[in-house]
Symmetry: C2
Subunit: 314 residues, 2 copies
């Protein structure tokens, strides 16, 4: 069982990765101290696609910045550093060999229609000496046949360590998560299965536990659930549910209070009615995020009425 | 399967039941409209134990007040009205026969050591013509043998319709809830089993779903989870998970936004680190509620250190 702390990487979707170095170092220290297996600090992205004047350093994660928070021996010996890349937003030629990097694992995020590119990317990263996972986003709206064929191609052609079920819209139930983990296991025998939840319906933790019960071996979580929209599975809760005692989770609770909670009033991730509605209706969170950004109510926004019209006209 | 809306009753623990009549009527209308089976509007308590100058009307729930929000035919034909009583805080002689009341069901809340009083109360209420449930609080710290013996006496002597597993401290996992439901079923054959969750570890909904999967036939929930401490299972989410579509939940979403969300900044129920810690450590929420009331951080409060000392000295 491997736990991945994605606090900075997924939380950065709410503030364009404008986290300062001491805050990132504190998250790393707390998670490493709690025995978290992988810490995902950011994305590797090319400055050709994102303006460094607008986006913080963890959108790009240059080796020098990573070494500042992943410098000491104690950290390196206890946990591994993971970085995410999005298909189409990075340049392979900008990545150095694993031997020259503190990064252990690249997580390749893709939609179902990008699976072939993701396989090729994982092959290339493998040649460079990195571990990889393939994180197939928005599985709740994927075409079943396309997903099945894609998973079969992954099983045959990708060296990835784990294939992720990603509940991008926070629309899945625990039972649905178990079903998807079993489905991925059948189609990708020998691969570990991962799960990444979103908390629109307050099920990210329960879905993670259900996925693990079904056999998932990689699970993502973040401190105080910081992440896009309704946020992720809470790392402090997940570790406790997995048997960590108070002595083991105290560092997570302190880091959550000192470094993450102060960001909540401005970043506004977590449960809200617009996010709950998006989850119930299996919708991308962008509409709900715009409502939250503008400080609108559901009533003012017209979002509920739009979705009701869709239901009626369907 | 019966769903009980306990928004006003449990939410009132955060403001001494100071809800105005139009707000309560709006909650009733939304829940009845969504097909909720029972609406629990308050407690029956004696003015001998609570000062009416300090506590709102739903601490006492006089028949006249109940009739104001339970007056119309449409409501009465679609849902039933439930009221809670706490052992030792009401007077049986103050209750009228069911034929003279709009109340259908009394829910008798008790601790394990009060089970015999609760059985006697349920017998008396049954004679008055009411349905009853027995809600055994704080099951997570109950003595196993005392609980088992109590459940056996309930099975033999109480006419109660349902016996509740109450996760007062928000400390149970979905697997533990399933185990408790099965345990209650074995010891109380023929009784329906109920579940009342608290959301300290963001598991109230997942625990409710797990309890139902194990066979629980009564489940409590409240709009936006309003309730003591970390709050309850969210009614709007539970109904959606049970298959209600957007047309069916829209009234709950609107009532949650218009009537419940505005109370959150002052009543402060919902996820917070002090409540999470109380849930992890299987503690009564009173300490965490005091921290929240004073606006303290965990760090300032010393709560985490106290619990760590306990672990170390245990």
């Amino acid at each position: 069982m491997k736990i991945i702390d994605c606090t900075i990487r997924d939380g950065g979707l709410m503030n364009k990765w404008q986290f300062d170095q001491p805050m990132v170092a504190a998250v790393v220290e707390a998670s490493v101290g709690a025995g978290v297996d992988y810490i995902e600090i950011g994305y590797k992205a090319s400055a050709e696609y994102f303006d460094p004047a607008e986006y913080g350093i963890w959108r790009f994660s240059p080796e020098a910045a990573l070494r500042e928070v992943w410098g000491n021996e104690k950290v390196r010996n206890r946990s591994r550093l993971a970085i995410m890349i999005d298909i189409g937003r990075f340049k392979l030629e900008e990545l150095c060999p694993a031997a020259d990097s503190v990064v252990s694992m690249f997580r390749v995020a893709c939609y179902v229609h990008q699976i072939d590119e993701a396989i090729a990317t994982s092959q290339h990263l493998h040649q460079l000496g990195y571990q990889t996972t393939l994180n197939i986003m928005a599985v709740s709206e994927a075409d079943e046949n396309e997903l099945e064929a894609g998973l079969q191609r992954i099983a045959q052609n990708s060296p990835a360590l784990a294939i992720y079920v990603v509940d991008s819209y926070g629309s899945l139930s625990p039972a649905a998560c178990m079903g998807l983990v079993h489905h991925y296991q059948r189609l990708c025998p020998g691969k570990a299965i991962g799960f990444h939840g979103h908390n629109n319906q307050q099920l990210a933790l329960a879905n993670s536990l259900a996925a693990m019960e079904a056999g998932a071996a990689f699970v993502d979580a973040s401190l105080l659930g910081m992440g896009r929209g309704a946020g992720n599975c809470h790392l402090e809760l997940l570790m406790s549910q997995l048997g960590a005692n108070l002595t083991q989770v105290q560092g997570l609770l302190r880091a959550a209070e000192l470094h993450i909670a102060p960001l909540q009033p401005s970043l506004k991730w977590g449960y809200s009615l617009p996010y709950a509605l998006a989850g119930m209706a299996n919708q991308h969170p962008r509409r709900a995020m715009a409502i939250m950004d503008r400080g609108e109510s559901l009533h003012e926004s017209g979002y509920l009425d739009e979705l009701l019209d869709k239901v009626i006209s369907a």
